[in-house]
């Protein structure tokens, strides 16, 4: 599990995002066309790839992709 892998999964999932445009410091909420529906897709994506169900509260405190990875790592440990 690393940040490159997570970026790959996100870019694969969201058609609106240009491949290669995301970085660890990219803000999730500033991604192209971000809406509350995308938050649901992100919950499903993390569950599918990492077997972790993020809470709404956790998602509120996640800003960047790096933050998301750190939350996943923390939950996994």
């Amino acid at each position: 599990m690393n940040v490159e892998e997570l970026i790959y999964f996100i870019e694969e999932e969201f058609d609106e995002i240009q491949k290669g445009s995301l970085h660890p410091t990219s803000s999730i909420r500033n991604m192209d066309g971000w809406s509350s529906m995308h938050a649901l897709i992100l919950i499903a994506l993390v569950d599918n790839h990492y077997d972790i169900l993020l809470t709404g509260e956790e998602l509120k405190h996640i800003n960047t992709i790096q933050d998301l990875l750190e939350t996943i790592v923390k939950r996994k440990s």
Binding site: M37, L40, I43, G56
Partner: protein
């Protein structure tokens, strides 16, 4: 699905079991009768036929895109829905259910004299009293020797209603049940709530469950977690939270002032709940029915949203060929999604008599339920 009746030995055995059941029925030994659960072809509660009714008014993605300044293709991508049917101001849940039942009885007039129980499942009842089932019973002109009951359940309602119908038939007290599920979520959605308006549609359905030897309703698994009550809730217009001047003033520009209440949904928590509970429910339902995953011909889940359905399909490793989705033309119709999906799956030849179908309902409450239909 293999043809259970193709084997001569099996037919002989079946004949024997049916003879035993006839004997037990004759002497009203229902508890003994229920212990003969050998095959789906013994006499038992069977889902015989389904009809549904949709109101004429249609809300398209183009309508929503124009109103909210969104992209209609993105709406489809995020919801899996192209259009939703919306009631007119005068239509309520029982009207849609009544129309569905009328359609069913027109096609199958023989049931009119046979129905001896009516179940009405909806979150939009006509009155606090009497039961809406009683009102529909009269409108349909059913026999007076017919019981009526309301079941105010949401997205898991169809599975719960089937369980109730099955149990009543197995008790030998009734033999033919009209189960109407109808919901009008549009009546409790604020006009500015884009997410809910893009997801939900109104509908009415009617199902006949009858004692017969052509199929069987399997064992049920139920669950509930009231801690999620507030995550999908229709507040106000109820005993706990009646309407007041402030509420009516706030919603005075809404159709009917949202006097039936207002729906709120925490989409993230609902998604979380669905992804957590449904895979467990699937496994428990298989276990309770002594079936393996591969023995299921078709999975029909509550049609919540395409995000939830796609995620569940992936998580439960269900192949596309066995996973039925019917969202595009109607949206999430609450308690009506499963019967509408079953109707269309049969119409599209995805479902045929003899198939083994898993039904999974989940939603408001939180509540959830699963069962197997030997269709």
């Amino acid at each position: 699905m293999s043809n259970f009746c193709s084997d001569a030995k099996f037919k002989k055995k079946l004949l024997k079991i049916n003879s035993i059941n006839f004997f037990l029925d004759y002497f009203k030994c229902s508890s003994l009768r229920n212990s003969f659960t050998f095959a789906p072809y013994i006499m038992g509660p069977t889902l015989k036929t389904i009809e549904y009714f949709l109101p004429k008014k249609i809300l398209t993605n183009e309508d929503l895109a124009k109103e909210f300044g969104k992209d209609s293709q993105n709406i489809f991508k995020n919801t899996g829905i192209l259009k939703r049917h919306i009631r007119n101001k005068k239509q309520i849940g029982s009207d849609l259910g009544f129309q569905a039942a009328k359609k069913l009885l027109k096609k199958n007039p023989n049931y009119l004299s046979k129905i001896d129980f009516l179940i009405f499942c909806s979150e939009g009842l006509d009155y606090k009293a009497p039961t809406t089932a009683s009102v529909i019973h009269y409108r349909l002109g059913l026999n007076q020797n017919c019981g009526c009951i309301d079941m105010p359940m949401g997205c898991a309602g169809y599975v719960y209603g089937l369980s109730l119908a099955k149990s009543m038939i197995l008790s030998n007290d009734v033999s033919c049940i009209l189960f109407i599920a109808a919901d009008i979520p549009s009546s409790v959605i604020h006009s500015e709530d884009f997410n809910l308006r893009s997801l939900f549609g109104d509908a009415g359905t009617a199902t006949i469950i009858e004692n017969s030897e052509s199929g069987k309703i399997g064992n049920f698994v139920f669950g509930n977690d009231g801690s999620g009550a507030k995550n999908l809730c229709v507040e106000r217009g109820s005993t706990r939270a009646p309407l007041d001047k402030e509420y009516l003033e706030l919603h005075k520009k809404q159709v009917g002032n949202l006097a039936h209440g207002r729906m709120t949904m925490n989409g993230m928590e609902i998604t979380r709940f669905s992804l957590e509970k449904v895979p467990l429910l699937l496994n428990e339902t298989l276990k309770k029915n002594k079936l393996t995953f591969d023995e299921i011909d078709l999975f029909v889940f509550h049609q919540a949203s395409i995000i939830i359905l796609d995620s569940l399909k992936r998580k439960c490793k269900i192949p596309d060929s066995k996973f039925y989705v019917y969202l595009e033309a109607v949206g999430n119709t609450v308690s009506c999604t499963i019967p509408i999906a079953l109707f269309n799956a049969e119409k599209e030849n995805r479902l045929k008599r003899g198939d083994v179908v898993m039904l999974i309902g989940f939603g408001v409450g939180y509540s959830w339920g699963g069962t197997i239909l030997h269709y």
